[in-house]
Symmetry: C2
Subunit: 341 residues, 2 copies
DNA sequence: CCAAAAAATGTTATCAGTAACATTATTCAG
DNA sequence: CTGAATAATGTTACTGATAACATTTTTTGG
């Protein structure tokens, strides 16, 4: 391995001079700079970052902690984060928690021992607070993405979930739907809570009956959606909903699969809307009406906030960026309402 | 920051003893181990990995260089790689090259200066060779994923592209298609070449005319597919294909969009098959007949090969893992063949 | 042409661990 | 109970780069 001293010796200068050339710090005579640079080139020298980090206390690496890179929402978050990180001279470490608090904790410990200057964090749920406290103790900057965590006050980039829910709901209501089912996400995830609340508000605002039988707990998975619809199917006919609002796309897809299984047509028998969009690049016939999240922006802005924080260019006070969802109306919610009692 | 010497002082031992406790090396009396561990716990001590790396020359970080995490194929590659890396105590640095050789070169230099023990590498194209030579010079292990690079002999995980192509082609031919167009990928990417060759072989084997007008250069993008079909549309009727074999899904989707634009129906007017599958989790109505790649395996196995190589547990000789594609027949290729001259 | 200022370069110590060797404590056979 | 073997722990030096301070060289104004 070529070290800075090898370069120094060969160039006939001190290690410090080489260091100055590399970091463009201090004053260096043009001729020595050239000489040193030539030797660096010749010897194919690349500074050892471990040694650098040891003194500088920084690694130019960010950690990205998400539930699952395989979820299209997060692949775009990752891409946005990576792009911004790259722009600013940082790199990105990827981690999937699968929504598992223990994995999350493991990863955080990993990150603590690992060279990471800061962390982009999509929390598993409210109980991630304890894990985050570890970061706070160790004074590692982090930014929350998508989900906020009660009791944790930092920079965060979140979605206006209320707005998205409200607009989806009003879209359904405008179509004449009155019996709208809610497929909820886990109550300990902030986004799920916001969507739940906004669902209630929308129903109240339009003076629609809120039927507890139509509000089903789910877990943001296809299976959760499937099971929830099974429960809906056991309701008496006059309670059965004409529309479903699913708190995320997996719930919606599970729901649709179950409905189709049972011979229901969408949107003719039941309309379905949800949060999160499909992959726009490989889905030829997008079908779902959705509140699409600006996933790329989540990552991009998140990385920016984080790096500003790391480099002490951020104001003391935590910043909260709230992004607007985009409502995309598609076939799954476009049909005359049947079965209006 | 708590250092090993802080622990040592508080525990009344030397730094070396603490080091031994942490690394479970050498002989330590049970009582001192307990004592030291207690202090470590109390002080919330986490070893500084920069200092560690400085002597150990390893960082337990792998680089993952892919064209675009946003491509569903690679999100699953990334997930597979991350899972395996995690299992083996490594982490993953993510990078998107967008198929740009310069970005690729930049990233590699980045990686060289960065703590990375090895690299999972999806090459941009054959000219990535130069970039890879840099890695070889610096003696950094890497594994090629998906695309091989002529002149580079290392561990690689690739797909049996010939088999996939052949099976898709025979499927079309069995349906009675004789005029099958080929939407190629770039000729300087190994996978595109293999698919091209296998297309020719399949045509020859079944004694079908190979019409150069039906073989269109593309670039693995939707627009490439779109443009290619525009050229097909300018052919005389008796040359127009009854089926299209697209070398990847983006070409296929671009092609379908163009065809639908022009009022063609798929598969009734033209059948379409391609490599790569849609996102199975959010696409409600998968439509395309495809040769699906075991993307997760790419990453998982690739990471394994790489780590074995890093830890000198691999045989000297480069290993080549060839994975089999899975043919999934769907609507896009299922219709009686019209227009058979 | 000289002294003071500025520029250029060098020396030493340090970052947080750990390898290599050194020392002290303990065990155990005879 | 002794000395050799082994276990337990400590010291010192080193990893590669850089901060802080020191020294030498060059520039510049009077």
């Amino acid at each position: 391995m070529v070290t800075i001293r090898d370069i120094a010796k060969k160039a006939g200068v001190s290690a410090m001079t080489v260091s100055r050339v590399i970091n463009q710090s201090g004053n260096i005579k043009e001729s020595t700079r050239k000489k040193v640079e030539k030797v660096i080139q010749e010897m194919n020298y690349i500074p050892n970052s471990a040694a650098r980090s040891l003194t500088s206390k920084e690694t130019k690496i960010l950690g990205l902690l998400i539930t699952d890179i395989t979820n299209p929402l997060f692949t775009h978050v990752a891409r946005g984060a990576e792009d911004k990180a790259r722009e600013m001279g940082y790199r990105l470490l990827l981690s999937n928690t699968d929504g598992d608090l223990h994995k999350e904790a493991d990863y955080l410990k990993f990150f603590l021992s690992t060279p990471v200057d800061g962390i982009l964090f999509e929390a598993c749920n409210d109980r991630s607070k304890e894990n985050l406290n570890l970061l706070i103790e160790h004074d590692i900057p982090f930014v929350l993405l998508d989900r906020s965590v009660p009791g944790i006050h930092t920079d965060q980039v979140i979605l206006d979930n209320r707005k998205g829910t409200f607009e989806l709901m009003e879209h359904l209501i405008k179509q004449g739907h009155k019996k709208i089912a809610l497929l909820q996400g886990p109550a300990d995830i902030s986004t799920a809570r916001s969507r739940h609340e906004a669902y209630m508000k929308a129903m109240e605002k339009h003076a629609l009956d809120i039927n507890p039988h139509l509000m089903l707990a789910g877990d943001f998975t296809q299976n959760g959606g499937f099971q929830a619809v099974l429960r809906l199917l056991s309701l008496p006919d006059d309670e059965f909903p004409t529309a479903i609002f699913a708190a995320n796309i997996f719930l919606a897809i599970g729901a649709i699969k179950c409905l189709r299984n049972q011979g229901y047509h969408i949107p003719d028998d039941v309309a379905v809307v949800c949060f999160d969009d499909v992959d726009p690049f490989t889905d030829l016939d997008p079908f779902l009406t959705v509140a699409a999240q600006p996933a790329y922006q989540f990552g991009y802005i998140g990385a920016q906030l984080l790096i500003e924080r790391i480099e002490n260019k951020a104001p003391q006070k935590p910043r909260e960026v709230i992004l607007a969802p985009e409502i995309i109306i598609r076939k799954s919610s476009l049909a005359p309402v049947r079965n209006v009692n």
